[in-house]
Symmetry: C2
Subunit: 347 residues, 2 copies
């Protein structure tokens, strides 16, 4: 930058010098420097040029009195389509509460779903007001660190049983399993299988329990060979579906515990030349955007991810303000979204 | 909390009192308080209990020397599936650079794609080190504010022409338009239409220009009635596709300037009982996750969103460190992803 100003400046010109150079009042120059919007464009241009000519540099500095409080959101992965809904819910609720959100991906494959070492130090140095986790887990010492430092945290859809006393928000997974299974029973299916996630994850085991309850209520025999645990990816779901089709009495309907896995189930059915829903009915879980795009469009149990995330943020704000939520787990209801992947069994 | 400690405490116990109560050394108590991980679990438990009994409260405070620098990412919407890829790229590159990311959604419908008023004040008070925008625009006075305060910014895939001198990263949109069209020409199509986005957006006009260039190079006549601008949503694309099908000589192939719009085109074709690709070929643009899930899977031009976002973050870091990038626009190459939606025209 070439300085051509006539003022003799050592550590930079004062605002008075800038104002004189631009031919405006000091308050007007101040408005421009402080980014206020109530300045005429031409005035702003003159002041900006004077600032540049004189080499006036004023970068905002951290201002504890005005700085918005920050909350941290740690997500399992930013690439899955569910994380967009979570982020959307958190961001909107945070905006309403006057907070800002720092996002961190836990990158499971590299780090077992945990944020990297050093993350807590950064969070501490920033003076984070609270933390939300989505499908991400901390180590015991990381939880202990948050407790010790009185930094409140809330878990959104925790994968495993949260530590004692931890506050979490999830979907009504058990009820969702009941709903999906009752829908298939109502269509006349009795040979209903389930392709579930990992055996020990909270969401999956509750969904399978709901499936069992619905069968029991309807007086339909539960067959253990109809329950297959697939982890959570498409490829595993495809393998489990192949196994189900190879049974002496294959199912006429399948409840798949995530939309993502339902895509793998669709692939296994297509391989065998089976048509959904004529040959076999499929119900998913989640209602991710892709559920609408597959053919036939997937009937699924909607998990209100954005609402869960917004609820978690609001609970966190109450905890930041010193109050303790009533319970440790809040569940939001799920509902069936009927599309084109379910029909009565073949006569 | 019930305080049963024997120490007489006014403003809270000192660390020495805590250490004595726990029967450990002061450095060990300090380690626990500071969240260091090199402490035996039993020792940590004893210190934590002593901290609780004595009511020792130490919340981290903002520490300018240790606080990581924050950058702001302003995205058009957090719900679109493209924003996940952008966020993923920014977050990973930021982690590598030792930065943290504050996310803000611009919420177009309410605010014309611009962040709310007051956002700049918060960003200033936080001492933000730089800003990235994705498909989001600022008002002139907001840009001026950033310039004045010397807060560098980089635009990822700007919708409109960026302000003079602004640094941006985008896809090679023109080349992508050429690639899509050449693919259809190579299959033997000559009646190739294009369903484009808004007429004046940067990405869309470059893609259409690429389409025209490819036709011209192949000596295929350009028909103005084959170019339809649809905005960017599915419903508009569906309407434009219906118009194309109603032409006296409808196209045998269509290049759709986004995957999202291609879904609308699929719907219009299904309404008329037309099969993709037997009756008509479709090429999309973006390679969003949904391109894989539709039937038939969409052939599309891949836009490397994560890489674009990571590149933008790295450029921003250089600007934060005082250097200026060589050019104002960086383009990353696109490539054709062939799936099942294109085939030679019917004989």
């Amino acid at each position: 930058m070439v300085r051509t100003g006539s003022a003799s400046v050592a550590a930079g010109p004062t605002l008075a010098v800038v104002a004189r150079e631009a031919g405006v009042s000091v308050p007007t120059a101040s408005k421009v420097v402080n980014g206020r919007e109530d300045v005429a464009p031409e005035t702003r241009r003159r002041v900006t040029e004077a600032l540049d000519r004189l080499g006036y540099v004023r970068r905002p500095r951290f201002d504890a009195a005005k700085a918005p409080r920050l909350v941290d959101l740690v997500v399992h992965s930013l690439e899955s389509s569910g994380s967009g809904a979570v982020l959307h819910g958190v961001e909107e609720a945070a905006r309403d509460a006057g907070l800002e959100v720092v996002v961190c991906a836990a990158l499971t494959r590299k780090r077992g779903g945990r944020p990297e070492r050093g993350w807590l130090d950064k969070l501490g140095a920033r003076g984070s007001s609270g933390v939300l986790f989505n499908l991400a887990e901390l180590s015991e010492s990381q939880y202990a660190w948050l407790e010790q430092h009185r930094i409140p945290f809330v878990m959104i859809d925790p994968v495993l049983e949260p530590p004692p006393g931890a506050v979490s928000v999830g979907a009504a997974n058990w009820q969702g399993g009941v709903t999906a299974t009752e829908h298939l029973l109502a269509l006349g299916h009795e040979r209903i299988a389930v392709v579930a996630g990992h055996r020990h994850t909270l969401g999956s085991s509750a969904r399978v329990a709901g499936y069992r309850s619905a069968l029991a209520s309807a007086g339909v025999r539960h067959r253990t060979e109809y329950v297959r645990h697939a982890g959570s990816d498409e490829a595993a779901a495809r393998r489990r579906m192949r196994e189900l089709l190879d049974l002496p009495e294959p199912p006429t309907a399948v409840f798949v515990c995530s939309d993502r896995m339902a895509l793998g189930v669709y692939e296994a059915l297509a391989e065998r030349g089976l048509t959904v829903p004529d040959d076999i009915s499929v119900v998913g879980f989640d209602d991710l955007p892709e559920a609408r795009w597959v053919t036939p469009a997937l009937t699924t149990v909607r998990q209100p991810l954005s609402e869960m995330a917004a609820t978690a943020l609001r609970l966190l704000v109450r905890m930041m303000d010193g109050s303790r939520p009533e319970g440790t787990r809040t569940e939001l209801s799920t509902r069936l979204v009927e599309r084109a992947s379910t029909a009565p069994p073949r006569a």
